[in-house]
Amino acid sequence: MAVCTGCSLLCDDIEVSIDGRRITKTKNLCRKGFGRYRSLASDRSVPRVDGRQAGIEEAISRAAEMLRNAKRPLLFGWSCSTLEAQRKGIELARRTKAIIDDTSSICQGEIMDMVIRKDIPTCTLDDVRNYGDTLIFWGCDPSSSHPRHMSRFSYFPRGEKLQRGHEEDRTAFLIDIRTSPTAKILAGNFIQISPGGDADLIEAMLAVLDGKIPRVRDKKAMISMMNRLKKADMGVIFPGLGLAYSLKGRMDRMKALVDRLNETTRYNVIPMVGHYNMRGFNQLLFDETGFINRVSFADGVDHGPVYSVVEASKSCDLALVVGSDPISSLPAGIAKALAGVPMITLDPHRTLTTELSRVVIPTALSGIEAGGSALRMDGVRIEFDPIVKSEYPSDEEVLSKILEEI
């Protein structure tokens, strides 16, 4: 059995047939995961130093030299690296007095912070499968982003206490702006809101829980949903990016709702983390510094918005990017600032970021060419071994060598 690092479900029931370095057949991979496996043979990055092709060793030495000379380096990415690589990354940040941040800074950081601090109750996906009888998918579209979420854990499978399957034992609601593919499956329980309408919906839900009339158009539907939510033995809320962006800066309102629901029954929250080991990085950095992201080691440990990738891209004098493509995923105005900074990039593939990097170090694809461990979106640790031999070093090996040379 192999593990898929295509998303933060880290599916560990993947069967793969291999002929040398070629994958000939896979079982149980979704379309997205199969894409990741296919990428083994596509558009791999090549080692580069100052615009010309170089050897990996030379690229590593140049990276170490650049990091040694940098005054205010930013170490960014991390959510597509193993825990072992992330640990080295945090060590490297300490040694170079760098700013370190990960992709949670531009997506699920706020709610993940609450989960890791235990400000908001959570559980494992196995608990959801066994006991989660009432589900709220909020601002997410698991069918597209985490294709096996509903079939492996949350909605369709039989669980210990839920033997009759989704038709009788589980109720799932979807709150979203867009009539997504998931909305087609959950059509009867789809609550469509306007952009930014999440906060108002939370207030309406709280009003019903307090026995007041909610200020929404369809009062009856809202009251009936809340009655169903109250009847849960174990409820689970899955907040996605839709909620993260709509409720940014006001995530305490989500906490208020979860706290209120927990007065009568058990409700847990599992954020729909995108990249396969974002949660791992957040947990590791939290264990070491007390913060999940946006940390500076320039003078002890400091934390704040000024150390976010959005700000640091404008203020750093060097960026080390590991397993991420910020030039692609940041707003163009911020990507432009980052493009003006000398970049060192570790990535298995050619990306927009490698194209603009001064130093490129190709790395092994974790889960396929490199082993290690990672934290699933629910915090469960999943270990994996490589399934094919690789000519590329892992992130962990590259970072170890950089650390040795600094």
Binding site: S42, S145, P331, L356
Partner: protein
């Protein structure tokens, strides 16, 4: 036509990104905006025509598609370097960009859809 752009994830586009983010498949599935049927009719935009999408932050040419579902006033774009041309670089105190709520105007154009390389050239210009 004025709209609010909301970005989203599409599994086929995610798959194309995994396989080759410089490829034609990825561009075809990324450089696209889904419009409400009546909105598009009012603005005289046909399915498959090139449109210029402009926000306060930037502009980008993509293909217009007409949605099966109705969503007047809203337009959906897969999250990609193309949609990121429009996302405001200025953020609030949270320093989290507004990827899913972008005020924009959409109009028919004869201009071409940029490739990833075009977008990169613009970044370093």
């Amino acid at each position: 036509m004025k709209v609010t752009i909301v970005t989203f994830r599409d599994i086929f586009q995610s798959e194309a990104q995994e396989v080759d983010r410089f490829g034609e498949d990825y561009r075809r599935m990324s450089a696209v905006v889904f419009l409400d049927k009546s909105d598009a009719a009012k603005a005289g935009i046909k399915d498959g025509s090139n449109v210029l999408v402009e926000s306060d932050n930037g502009r980008v040419v993509v293909v217009a598609r007409i949605s099966e579902d109705t969503h007047p006033g809203l337009a959906f774009m897969p999250n990609s370097p193309w949609s990121n041309q429009l996302v405001p670089a200025k953020t609030d105190d949270t320093r989290i960009p507004s990827y899913k709520s972008i005020s924009a105007t959409i109009s028919v154009t004869d201009d071409k859809i940029p490739t990833v390389e075009d977008l990169l050239r613009e970044l370093v210009s």
